[in-house]
């Protein structure tokens, strides 16, 4: 398993880091939503919404200058990912439906939609396999020489730094945090619109997941098909939680889980251990983080109580 993740520079870059790109980007989105107390469990669906939109536009940009083509494809991916969260946002704001349930249900709708697309409107011209044609070369990302790692990795790093600055230095990041920690206090302060903040956080997190889908199309697969994502949307929850919703730490945990996924894929090839074993590891990590978090809170509360005595 170690060899499949860190065995050589080629494996590190083309398996581990390559897989970390969607995990980091989706993880950043999940951190944004979770910080605002909005539990977006539907990143998988938003990823697919982005991938569908990216494929659709990517098939039509032949002859465009590359930066323009790639930029447009990413933009529609972001918009599609965000749009996929619009329904949960409306349901939450207008009807008080838990976003957890609505975002989850939309995962299944997105997955069926991909299947519909690759056997219908976006199916390859030969109509043999349930997959799309390859997107125009102008929309494909450059890769680092000698590897499969595409430039999207740098974008992921830049986004992490940008989000870190936003969270730690801006008033918007502060609003997000207060909305998540103390929605009542935020409301009473009169300066923070809790509903708007959490809605915006949800839309952003959808945009991040959509971008990850677009990135996967423009940088890795160049085509749409079912099971494009091996559950990135769920793994990214573990990525974000383990990083304690800190954008810079998400880069590290994203690479860690990229290595896990890459190692598991190698184990499946060589030792026929199914990749779903990663899910068990993810679950264990999520639970450990939750338990440690509660313990930390208890200790902090006890220290506070003792100090005030």
């Amino acid at each position: 398993m170690g060899r499949g993740a860190f065995g050589s520079w080629y494996v590190i870059s083309s398996a581990t880091l390559l897989r970390s790109v969607p995990l980091i980007i989706i993880g950043l989105g999940i951190a944004t939503a979770f910080r605002a107390g909005a539990l977006n469990i539907g990143a998988e669906g938003q990823f697919y919404a982005g991938a569908i939109a990216a494929t659709w536009l990517g098939l039509h940009v032949a002859g465009w200058p590359a930066p323009f083509a790639i930029g447009s494809v990413w933009l529609v991916a972001v918009v599609a990912g965000g749009a996929w969260v619009v329904v949960p946002v409306i349901l939450k704001l207008r009807f008080g439906v838990l976003e957890v349930i609505s975002t989850l249900l939309l995962n299944f709708i997105a997955s069926a939609l991909v299947s519909l697309m690759v056997t219908g409107p976006l199916q390859e011209a030969r109509r043999t396999y349930p997959q799309s044609d390859l997107i125009a070369t102008s929309a494909r990302l450059a890769v680092f020489p000698g590897t499969r790692l595409h430039l999207g990795f740098l974008v992921a790093l830049l986004l992490a730094v940008g989000l870190h600055v936003f969270f730690s230095r801006s008033i918007g990041g502060f609003h997000l945090l207060v909305t998540g920690i103390g929605p009542r206090a935020a409301e009473i302060s009169g300066r923070i619109d809790v509903r708007k903040t959490s809605a915006l956080a949800l839309l952003c997190s959808g945009g991040f997941a959509g971008l990850a889908g677009g990135m996967e199309i423009t940088g890795v697969s160049y085509a749409l098909f079912q099971n494009l994502s091996p559950g990135y949307g769920f793994t990214a929850i573990a990525v974000a939680l383990l990083a304690r919703l800190n954008p810079l730490a998400i880069v590290a945990t994203g690479i860690l889980f990229g290595a896990l996924e890459a190692g598991a894929a190698a184990m499946q090839r060589e030792a026929s251990v199914p990749t779903v074993v990663v899910n068990v590891v993810e679950a264990a990590i999520i639970v450990s983080v939750l338990v440690v978090e509660v313990a930390r809170r208890r200790i902090a509360a006890r220290v506070n109580a003792e100090e005030s005595e």
Partner: protein, 305 residues
Amino acid sequence: MSEAPPLLTAFLEASIRVATPLVLAATGETIAERSGVINLGIEGAMLAGALASAIGATRSGPWVGVLLAILAGMALAALFAAIVVGVGADQIIAGTAMTLLATGLTGVSYRQYYGTAGAGLSLPTLDPVEIPLLHRIPVLGPALFNQSLLTYVAVLAVPVVWWALFRTRWGLALRAAGEWREAAAAAGVRVGPIRAVAVILGGGFAGLAGASLVLAQVGTFAEQMTAGRGFIAIAIVVLGGWHPVRVALAGLLFGGAMALQFLFQALGLQLPYQLFLMFPYVVTLFALAGLVGSVRAPAGLARQD
């Protein structure tokens, strides 16, 4: 008109068959949520139950499968209860983790147990059982009274759970724990243990739901075969306003939505099958939007301590 009765009967029969796992899982989740715990892990408990029932049925017959399924669901729910009731961790994230865990564990053990060939269609399943006389009622009879025993179990479970929740001291304590735990505790209710029991009972129902999916509906196991039915069951609990009888009716409605594809196929309507795949989820979203406001969740639901 000679065509209509058999078609309607087939549709009703399919609706009830498809609704059975949903009603079972939603009934169990109603108990847990009434005690103040939302368990997103019932999707995983259902999946674990599905695999356990397949393995049990392969080894020693369908009823051993049913038993193993209940135990598997309860085991997963017990772990969840330890994390959220024992430690006091976030219910929603812990529930998601339980579903991930079950997805991984069932995927690995399925391949360990059945190898690459898969479970196949050789499982001993639960055949429909005719209820004497009643099954001869025209149209309705064959649909309602010629189902697997697990359907009848689901039908019986609904009044039993209603009675337990609303007519026993235990039920009163459980609902108090779900509404206002501090008050319940002050009145002498042991909130932690009662919630743990409610969650584990709910897990048992979810496991049973998995068994009915495998043994009375699909006839085999496939990885991730629950496909969100556990999550739909959670939505059904909301639609049914946390009341066992209305929850069961909401489950039946969903069975109908899912069985529509059989009806459409029988009518010869040519639509992409993916639309039918989406349909139950779309219906759930609409129903949630339409019904919220008229129902009220237990006040203490999903609150972290």
